[in-house]
């Protein structure tokens, strides 16, 4: 302990506090202070007395210095200034968050409206597609009707066609049908619009015959149809003395059933 006492009394600690030591002496003092409490306590006492000595000799700087100095320092963390800055920033943040809220709501509303509109449009598109399909069908029907009518008009205009009205037999005196025949074009038509044939059942059909040199020639089958306004084209034939219609089993027969003759007409 004598060594420590001598060290303290050497005056090195006072010089250390005054900053008047070499770097080596500084390290030595700091090592001694760590090692010996007496050195540490002595240093504390010297520091405290010199601080009081400075206080005893204090000179207050001019009042203006406080503001000047405080303004020259930069404050990194929490202080009044930064609180003020945050308060200024807040109003900027709020409308922004509201903007996104409203924007989201608007987007959602727009989406819902769009879906409804889309469904509406889809429904109409479907209707329109159906309409187009039915119009196409109608158009098709009209087109075929027109071509049929064209055929009928041609028959009526063509001087080679001969019109023959077949009259009802004793079996069905009221029955009648008109046959148009062109030996030149080898075509035979029957006019359903003016036909007055009793309605046939499902097992039976009318069959048109041509009589050529006393022999019957099949010209095809047809059904009674009171609603039809068409002319129906039958099988072709170049020669005929007479035409007749018999009621046969459905699909027609190879030879006519004479007792079932409905109408007949001769040239």
């Amino acid at each position: 302990m004598e060594e420590v006492k001598a060290y303290i009394e050497s005056g090195i600690l006072e010089l250390y506090v005054l900053g008047d030591v070499t770097p080596a002496e500084r390290l030595e003092v700091e090592a001694m202070a760590v090692k010996y409490t007496a050195v540490k306590d002595e240093l504390a006492a010297i520091e405290k007395s010199l601080e009081l000595y400075a206080k005893a000799n204090e000179i207050a700087p001019a009042d203006t210095q406080r503001e000047i100095i405080l303004n020259r320092l930069d404050y990194v963390l929490v202080n009044e200034q930064s609180y003020k800055n945050e308060a200024k920033v807040l109003p900027l943040v709020k409308p922004q968050s509201n903007f996104y809220k409203y924007a989201f709501a608007a987007s959602l509303a727009l989406l819902i409206a769009s879906v409804i509109a889309l469904l509406n449009v889809y429904g109409r598109l479907k209707e329109t597609t159906n309409l187009v399909a039915s119009l196409q069908n109608q158009n098709h029907e009209i087109a075929s009707t027109v071509s049929l009518k064209d055929g009928e008009i041609e028959v009526l205009r063509d001087p080679s066609f001969k019109l023959l009205k077949l009259q009802g037999t004793q079996k069905s005196p009221a029955a009648a049908i008109t046959v148009a025949w062109s030996p030149v074009k080898k075509k035979v038509w029957i006019d359903m619009a003016t036909a007055k044939m009793p309605s046939n059942d499902k097992e039976h059909q009318y069959q048109l015959w041509a009589l050529v040199a006393g022999k019957p020639v099949d010209l095809g089958v047809f059904d009674s149809d009171t609603t039809s306004k068409d002319m129906k084209e039958m099988k072709s034939i170049t020669l005929a003395d007479a035409f007749a219609v018999t009621l046969e089993k459905r699909g027609g027969s190879p030879t006519p059933s004479m007792d079932e003759m409905m109408v007949i007409g001769k040239f």
């Binding site: 009394e9 050497s10 005056g11 090195i12 006072e14 010089l15 506090v17 005054l18 900053g19 008047d20 700091e30 240093l43 504390a44 006492a45 010297i46 520091e47 405290k48 007395s49 010199l50 601080e51 009081l52 000595y53 400075a54 206080k55 005893a56 000799n57 204090e58 000179i59 207050a60 700087p61 001019a62 009042d63 210095q65 406080r66 000047i68 100095i69 405080l70 020259r72 320092l73 930069d74 404050y75 990194v76 963390l77 929490v78 202080n79 009044e80 200034q81």
Partner: protein, 183 residues
């Protein structure tokens, strides 16, 4: 004396606040230590405007280099007053300052300052000042030279024409006397 309320913190609180670089730390630092530091600076740098410059630089340096302060190695004021003293000495030794010829004759400085300035009336310090007055003249002069003039003990020995060992002993005795008086 009817000035704004001064901020005062314990040394531990102040050091913690300084570490966080809070403005209140700077305010407390100034209120607690500016007069003591300015007392030291003003006795080295006589010109008031220049002393104020040094005071400003001192606070800026304390603030910016606070990370290098370690409470383990001593009191906050000891660290700060050495910064102030070094900046003040650098100032009076700088070329442009010498050219301005503003430095005074050394012997008269302390008395000159005390005559020139009306140091703030502070009843708390009355007792301390009396105790300082009780120092022997030789103790007072060595303290003034090394503490207020920034002399190294080698320079002081040279100035006073006294051996180095005697300077050290006399300085120690002066501080021991202060301690007796303060405690």
């Amino acid at each position: 004396m009817s000035r704004r309320h001064k901020i005062s913190l314990s040394e531990e609180e102040l050091i913690a606040a300084l570490g966080k670089r809070e403005k209140i730390a700077a305010e407390a630092l100034y209120d607690m230590y500016s007069a003591s530091l300015f007392g030291v600076i003003s006795r080295i740098v006589i010109d008031t405007a220049t002393a104020e410059d040094v005071l400003q630089d001192t606070f800026v340096k304390i603030w910016n280099s606070f990370a290098s302060y370690s409470a383990d190695k001593g009191r906050l004021f000891t660290w700060m007053v050495n910064i102030a003293r070094n900046l003040a000495i650098d100032k009076i030794r700088s070329k442009d300052f010498k050219n301005q010829n503003k430095n005074q004759e050394l012997e008269n400085n302390v008395t000159f300052i005390d005559e020139k300035r009306n140091t703030v009336y502070n009843p708390e310090l009355l007792g301390i000042k009396d105790l300082v007055e009780k120092l022997k003249p030789e103790q007072k002069s060595i303290l003034e030279l090394v503490y207020f003039k920034g002399y190294t003990h080698v320079e002081a020995a040279d100035e006073l024409g006294i051996p180095l060992g005697t300077i050290k002993t006399r300085l120690r005795m002066a501080i021991v006397q202060l301690r007796k008086n303060f405690n």
